[in-house]
Amino acid sequence: MRKVVMVAGGVNKWGRRAANFRQLAAEAAKACFDSNPNIDHKEIDGFILATTYAERTGVQVHPAPFIAQIIGLQPKKLYMRVENQCGSGTTAIRTAWWAIASGYVDMVMCLGVEKLMIPVHEEIFLNAASAMDHDWEGCFGLTPPAAFAMAAQAHMRKFGTTEEQMAMVSVKNHRHAMKTPYAHHYERYKKHGPVTLETALKSRMIAYPLKLFDCSTNTDGAAACILASEEKAKELTDKPVYLIGTSQVCLHGSWQKATYEWWEWPALRLAARQAYEMAGIKPEDVDVAEIHDCFTISEIIEYEELGWCEKGQGGKFIEEGLSDYGGKVVVNPRGGLIACGHPFAATGIAQAYEIFLQLRGEAGERQVKDAKIGLNHNLSGLGEHHIIIYKRGFD
């Protein structure tokens, strides 16, 4: 198996964009190409498009070849579209990894794009419901906020986790995003300043205990990255970032198949163990992490299942500042899904790109000092988790 290196990345401006999904994709591709002038895009022989709602907001079935064409790629070895809802981006990177590691292809671009903002607000949530189990969950109008709200209540009941602690995750991630110009809420901070605990706690209820500021933001956005074999990467960069561990676990798709206690996420615990084992590291070795804060409670439970604190101590972990700069592990330095927004399939790739910048020491104001190992996590439901671990390949 060949070693695989990330050699380029880029993100476009996220928000309610006056652009369609093709144009969003092209913007991210250009940012990615521009990030590494050593790459001739005509040499890229693999292309993986991650997108969830191409059919619903594109409206485009079979989107991969059209996006490849728009950005000037003519892949000669592989091209495909992948979709695992919120884990689509991570899935694309993992898929590219295997294709390169096997020796089949030398350079692959992964591009995640999502057009979520459409004129009728309720249609956005029709799309959200469509990713739940259609016949047994979506048919009740159930969308992710209500589902995660029930997980939050289970955690509160079992461990005494509070709404304040959840709000602290939102405050932290919004504070981080004040240094992320592409974030959905970036302009808001210029006008209204940082999001305070009071603002978060007083925001309108979505599904108890989750309020507006506990939820990630629907947004339009795209992100791209390029992976290459170690040998090819030597021609392209002197600051390689290696992919050293990954895992993907799917115990169930439907929420009601989670017949265990909802304050524990066994699929994530298993995914974490597998990824750490493959990377040959321990949880405490992670310097910087981009994890799936689709809701504040998710980030709290993830601290626990990723092994950064004891089970049930996630609330305390945020309260004591251990997931912030100067703590044990800097979590979501770009501002997470809550503050950057969550264009589903673009999220995993934007997170990976943030880890790439952090490990190369190129994250500017957001830089985590001397970050050597970074972890990226996505989930697509209680039973579906995706992890990739990256390591700086130079000193």
């Binding site: 009728v120 309720e122 249609e123 949530f125 029709l126 959200a128 419901a129 469509s130 189990d133 259609h134 016949d135 047994w136 969950e137 979506g138 048919c139 009740f140 109008g141 159930l142 969308t143 992710p144 906020p145 209500a146 589902a147 709200a149 029930m150 209540q153 289970a154 009941r157 309108r204 209820m205 979505i206 599904a207 108890y208 507006l212 939820c215 439907s254 929420w255 009601q256 198949k257 989670a258 017949t259 909802w262």
Partner: protein
């Protein structure tokens, strides 16, 4: 009445948030037929005894397709619930009380709670199934289940 409505209104698959329930559309049509008779049922594997939820056409435990319909226990208990006032899809009116209900046969079912205000619901409450009508599809009338509190 239902067939008449179905004939007049064109049916678009992509806009339908509800399951297709009829014999012409699904192999588990009996679930909905039973529901119309007021029976909340599911499938049990004849080979390994596993109780399926949701009902599908093969047993996920042993892959057998020899399955039989059984009645679900009459009552379940609320494991957790929430009141969904935001993020409500087209075609639904808030507030929706969404609940996770555990049945004594080990089956966990998600569904909304009807005929109750949010203040009347609490974790541990006993609920039973209530059958509601939903818009017809190309093949006629449809029903769905939800839960109501046991008085």
């Amino acid at each position: 009445m239902g067939e008449e409505k179905a004939e007049k209104r064109p049916y678009y698959f992509v806009l339908d948030l509800y399951p297709q329930e009829h014999k012409e559309e699904t192999r588990i049509w009996e679930f909905y037929e039973n529901l119309k008779q007021g029976r909340f049922t599911t499938l049990k594997c004849k080979k390994c005894g596993h109780i399926l939820w949701p009902p599908e056409v093969i047993c996920p435990e042993c892959t057998s397709d020899e399955l039989e319909w059984i009645d679900m226990p009459p009552r379940g208990k609320i494991y957790a619930f929430t009141v969904q006032v935001g993020a409500v899809p087209l075609g639904f009116k808030p507030p929706l009380i969404q609940a996770i209900v555990d049945f004594p046969n080990g089956v966990r079912v998600i569904g909304p709670i009807a005929d109750a205000s949010p203040e009347e619901v609490k974790v541990g409450d006993e609920v039973e199934v209530k059958v509601i009508e939903i818009p017809p599809d190309a093949h006629g009338d449809r029903v769905l289940f939800c839960f109501k509190k046991v008085k």
